[in-house]
Symmetry: C2
């Protein structure tokens, strides 16, 4: 008894938009204990779309489809679905917007058609699809535990996980990210799950975080200890601040970020001396040190991070190649850590890795 | 003769990571003129995975699969693929990292196995998969044109597109985003395509941009006219700056952003008066005006945008609900536009919509 998620639209198939709807549905279904059989993305072409929906309904008793319900010329989902059922659909209520949603049901097959706009799709899932599934399709996998370790690699945790998988017959997933690794344990026996979780948590307790969001862990600690944080960003260009402020309530501890992209702003706002910039260059330990000192002085923050590097693709040299990043990080009244990092990858990757790495170092210092 | 993209891994199926690899492959294949038949995401379980790969190879002559090639306990892709072919695979070179890649070929069926890490997958696609496809699977759709209109909605363009679709027998896609709409025209007759493109461009020329990236359009204009830009961000928390600095070369015109999340920083860095903050609140036309004035004074920028709003989920009131955003935008020496915007959606959506809307307004002013 499994569920299939179907994403509809040439814009998804052709990569014009990234399929965040499938990720949302997959995550919510897994969280609630359902197994997703597979996920399929189909084009807008009526013949192919109709055939694809038909096959999905043959493979699985419940199909949740998103997209192609709009009023424009490339939206064909409803017409195709109508040809697969003899009963007309029920309308699903939309508490957020104006897009329609539909529910077809016949001979133990159910098809939900949800809008492609994420906010409307998500609300319709919670209000209409989830209650239906809970009532008609009891979840098979009831237990699930998740752990997150920051600044940790797949290979660090793999041997222990293999041992536990064999011993307790668990379904174990290791999911690496730029922040660290998430480990998800699933299985029918809750006691086994809890025991395995404890063993893993104990083995890597120095890197264990309460959630996979380092930004949330920073916020919790700062608020609990009534401390404030400010940033001085150059190469990360505001990305670090945007990650911290994405968490609701960030204003309780986060004062702000001085995104000093130009050298002139580094001088005017942070008090970096023109001589230091001239002698060592903007990407140097000396400049991040002065940025950090100026940052704490200007903002009055308890903790500060200053960062300057070469995100690329241009601006690198043999001495300081693209991916070279200097940072100063620390607490008011103490000497900051000043160091250099080297990251591989394109501009976006260098910015992302720098951000997550520095948040990890901050957590290491405060936890 | 079509291509199927297969994504492998429970982390994708269960939404722990968003499937950007499928978007990359879809985009690149479409750009080069291939039709993607469909995209499928399969779990790590060997039996289901093997069956899924087998079905994909029956449906389509070329299958490009990503993920599940790592060394850890949940990686089973290679073993499953080996059971479907009698010949062993060839190794694909990896110019970026250490992850392996494989190519199976037999009886007019081809299966590429690429790593799940985006940077390694992308490079391997360009260096190994793309040359193979070009040689063995001539693209059927040779012509493709794309237009982007900012601050434009689907319904604005739909009637004209329907007319052109009927007249010129084109495959037309309308892809709305927070920035505007992208329109993609595809078809076998290049003359028809060019004619239709001209008609559409002419009809909405006031909103036409050279690319779907407003940030690139801003950068081109600023560099061409030797102007500089700076931001004063409150509710967007550095996100606006991060979008501008994501474009390589942004340092040529973008001076920086003063992310003044706390009121104290609004006073200290931007010179907003404590009385204005007290009398009108941080989210008010008066405060964004003072932020804007202070921003241009502090940074010396030619153009500035100041923004303060309520991103939510808390902090709203009946007078200023969540999604209320004030901005001041304009050119040094002239009176700035000061106005209020209202956006629906969660915190992330409010920040994203604010950012794209303000970039659109800046473009409207300068273009």
């Amino acid at each position: 008894m499994s569920i299939e998620v179907v994403s509809i639209g040439n814009e998804v198939l052709r990569g014009i938009i990234v399929n965040t709807n499938a990720a949302f549905l997959g995550r919510r279904l897994a969280e609630e204990g359902w197994d997703i059989a597979c996920q399929t993305t189909l084009p807008d072409e009526p013949d192919v779309l109709k055939q694809g929906l038909k096959e999905a309904l043959m493979r699985n008793p419940v199909v949740i489809a998103t997209g192609g319900l709009g009023p424009t010329l490339d939206d064909n989902t409803l017409e195709c679905a109508k040809e697969l059922f003899s009963n007309p659909p029920n309308n699903l209520p939309n508490g957020v917007g104006t897009a329609p949603g539909y529910f077809f049901s016949e001979s133990n097959r159910a098809l939900f058609l949800l809008p492609g706009v994420p906010s409307e799709m998500e609300q319709m899932f919670e209000e209409s699809v989830f209650p239906y599934l809970k009532k008609h399709l009891p979840a098979t996998l009831l237990h699930r535990e998740e752990l997150f370790f920051y600044l940790t690699r797949e290979n660090d945790v793999d041997p222990l996980l293999r041992e536990l998988q064999g011993k307790y017959k668990l379904d174990i997933g290791i999911y690496p990210s730029y922040s660290g690794v998430s480990i998800v344990l699933r299985g029918p026996n809750n006691e086994h799950l809890i025991t395995a979780k404890k063993i893993i948590a104990e083995a890597f307790k120095a890197s264990l975080l309460p959630s996979s969001k380092m930004e949330e862990a920073i916020q919790s600690w700062m608020i609990k200890h009534q401390k404030t944080l400010a940033l001085a960003e150059s190469c990360t260009g505001g990305f670090m601040a945007s990650q911290l402020t994405a968490v609701p309530g960030a204003s309780s501890y986060f004062l702000g970020s001085l995104v000093t992209y130009s050298n002139q702003l580094k001088e005017d706002l942070l008090g970096v001396s023109p001589e230091t910039l001239k002698n060592h260059g903007a990407v140097s330990p000396e400049v991040v040190h002065e940025m950090w000192t100026g940052l704490l002085k200007k903002t009055g923050a308890d903790y500060g991070i200053a960062v300057s590097g070469i995100a690329g693709p241009t601006g690198g040299s043999s001495e300081k190649p693209v991916g070279t990043v200097f940072y100063a990080l620390g607490k008011r009244g103490e000497k900051p850590q000043i160091n250099t990092l080297h990251f591989k990858g394109n501009r976006q990757t260098v910015i992302l890795r720098t951000t997550k790495w520095l948040f990890g170092l901050l957590l290491k210092q405060i936890l």
